[in-house]
């Protein structure tokens, strides 16, 4: 018999992972809007975030308040480097070629991570204590709260960035109509660079937040990246609101599916639902159907 408490518990863990997926999905959207491609190295930004945090916090013994920004900033830099070194020089700008460049970069990055941090899973302490809290029948840790709170903060900050700042507006203009953006004097190449930096930032944030719960190793980003991609598709690729909804929906779906139906098949359930949604709504929950003018 499944009680209310259990459902509440599944909801809490679903929303926690959902928030992480949403962060990853937002990273996918930002790069898509600026460049039109899927960045398959997005998941590696997540693992790199966790790994860098480990280095600063555990290996170097820096305080959390210093390690956190350093980890996130360094991954943002790696994101920007990826754009500058691998995508900018590409001779052929066809989307499929650029996507597979990111796949090659992802393999390369994982090889580098393995060299630097080894194959073992590394653990991080929670941001603040393990003291469990109880609310409405569900038990959760401060880390759960940190994840939800910092994800919300990141979303609010992103909203402010895109709505209020000059660079944010320029990025939105680039997404809406690259050619018109160029004519308005916007440096769209620079916007692509920023989009990779920003996605690196979001991915790293997700990595730093999730690591205390699941640990980190060089390859954990693959599945997280895939889930984030699925969340972005589910929400409607390119839509920020869709990415957030898609992330939360996927997180809940997995956690409720695992808890109420079968934990072995939680991914099967999640992807099956995703496929069914796509069959009914071919451009996701919030996506606008594309119609080419003929």
């Amino acid at each position: 018999m499944t009680g209310w408490n259990e459902i509440a518990q599944y909801t809490v863990s679903g929303l926690t992972t959902g928030a992480i997926y949403a962060l990853v999905a937002l990273g996918f959207c930002i790069i898509h809007n600026a460049t039109g491609i899927v960045n398959f190295a997005q998941g590696d930004f997540v693992s790199l975030g966790g790994l860098m945090m480990y280095t600063f916090l555990v290996a170097l013994g820096l305080p959390v308040l210093l390690s956190f920004p350093l980890a996130v900033a360094s991954v943002a830099l790696v994101g920007a480097l990826l754009e500058r070194l691998a995508l900018r020089p590409a001779r052929d700008k066809r989307v499929v070629i650029l996507i597979f460049i990111t796949i090659g970069a992802s393999i390369l990055m994982r090889g580098v991570f393995k060299q630097i941090w080894g194959k073992e899973a590394l653990a991080l302490p929670s941001l603040s204590g393990e003291y469990p809290l109880r609310l409405l029948g569900a038990t959760f840790t401060p880390q759960n709260l940190w994840i939800v709170a910092l994800t919300l903060a990141a979303i609010v900050a992103l909203g402010y960035f895109f709505q209020r700042t000059t660079v944010g507006k320029a990025m939105r203009a680039t997404a809406a109509n690259p050619r018109a953006a160029v004519l308005m004097g916007i440096d769209t190449e620079r916007m692509k660079l920023y989009s990779f930096g920003l996605s690196g930032f979001l991915g790293a944030l997700a990595g730093v937040l999730i690591t205390p719960i699941v640990t980190v190793s060089y390859g954990v980003g693959v599945m997280l990246g895939l889930k984030g991609f699925a969340a972005a598709v589910l929400g409607g690729y390119g839509s920020f609101v869709g990415a957030i909804l898609g992330g939360l929906a996927l997180g809940l779906l997995e956690s409720l599916g695992a808890g109420l139906i079968s934990s072995t098949y939680k991914d099967v359930i999640a992807f099956l639902v995703l496929l069914i949604v796509l069959f009914v709504m071919p451009s996701g929950l919030m996506g606008r159907g594309e119609r080419s003018r003929v």
């Binding site: 590409a90 499929v96 496929l275």
Partner: protein
């Protein structure tokens, strides 16, 4: 036209000659084993190239069809004692049917949505092969698959399988080339260029996309069946999404929309991890690095570079 047609057959003859010569020059079973895997991959890549390079539809799920072919062949011959060749046909028909069933809704999707849907399909199939362990043997794999046999000639050595699989690969290449240079091939390339325009000229675009998807899935299934009988043991890991990605990478590195390119992509990328074995530590870094470099600097594919040789110019032939 006829000149180009001769070019293809000349290329095919050269390739066939190489295939015949190799066992005499390098009888080492280790090399033959590598070449056998090249041919298996090439069969899948040929079909995938028709789907991606010609019809313009991406799939990151073909490892699932490869795996289903392997598991259906393996389980029905191994557990139920079905005869291998009819089982292989049964697998191909079942996989083709499944591809049609999921292809109809999936191929309505575009771009990233299509990428995700095919990936999702592959993930589901892969998880099922791991979890349904009563049937599939679970993560450690399914073993005890019998070898193939042609009129009493048991295909139980690398050399014998080499003869079989390379014949199959050359036939697949010939069939694919027949398809490309036909009304159907033109229809597929037309819908790649502009779906509305192709439809306005009478190309049933939806049906064509599904048909080529099914054809490529059937080729993958056949290759999977051959794989199962060759190794005698199959594991889910062989058919995961990473293999799907690798297959598409072979298409792109070889040259999208070039059947020869697909062969070259398979021939180049299949042995690369083994070649890099001696630098085990840095394998991923070098492999990823090579991939990035090729895609950044030779995006039209390896074959296009070689293809400047006049007699090979069968690419995108009129």
């Amino acid at each position: 036209m006829s000149g180009r047609g001769r070019g293809f057959f000349l290329g095919l003859a050269v390739l066939a000659g190489l295939v015949v010569a190799v066992p005499f020059v390098m009888p080492n079973p280790y090399y033959l084993n590598v070449l056998n895997v090249v041919a298996l991959n090439a069969i899948v890549v040929i079909g995938l190239n028709l789907l991606i390079g010609y019809a313009g539809q991406i799939s990151l799920g073909h490892a699932a069809f490869y795996g289903l072919g392997a598991y259906i062949s393996g389980i029905f011959t191994g557990s139920f004692g079905w005869p291998p060749w009819p089982t292989m046909l049964f697998a191909a028909v079942s996989v083709g049917g499944l591809a049609a069933l999921i292809g109809i809704p999936i191929l309505r999707l575009k771009g990233n949505y299509l990428v995700m849907a095919t990936l999702g399909f592959n993930l589901i199939v892969n998880i099922l092969t791991v979890q349904l362990d009563d049937l599939t043997g679970g993560p450690s794999g399914y073993s005890g698959i019998p070898s193939l046999e042609i009129f009493g000639w048991v295909i139980n050595s690398d050399l014998r399988f080499y003869i079989l699989v390379w014949s199959a690969a050359l036939i697949a290449l010939l069939l694919a080339r027949n398809l490309v240079r036909s009304r159907v091939g033109r229809g597929l390339r037309a819908l790649h260029g502009s779906e509305v325009a192709a439809a306005a000229l009478g190309v049933p675009t939806e049906r064509y996309k599904v048909k080529i998807f099914v054809f490529s899935a059937v080729l993958a299934s056949l290759a999977g069946s051959l794989y199962a009988h060759y190794y005698g043991i199959i594991t889910p890991k062989t058919f995961d999404i990473f293999f799907s990605v690798e297959l598409v990478t072979m298409c792109i590195v070889g040259g999208l929309g070039s059947l020869w390119g697909g062969f070259l992509g398979a021939a180049f990328l299949t042995p690369l991890p083994q070649v890099l074995h001696f630098v085990e530590e840095y394998k991923d870094i070098i492999y990823g690095g090579i991939l990035v470099l090729i895609l950044v600097f030779l995006p039209e594919g390896l074959f296009t570079r070689l293809g400047r040789l006049p007699w090979l110019a069968g690419r995108r032939s009129p």
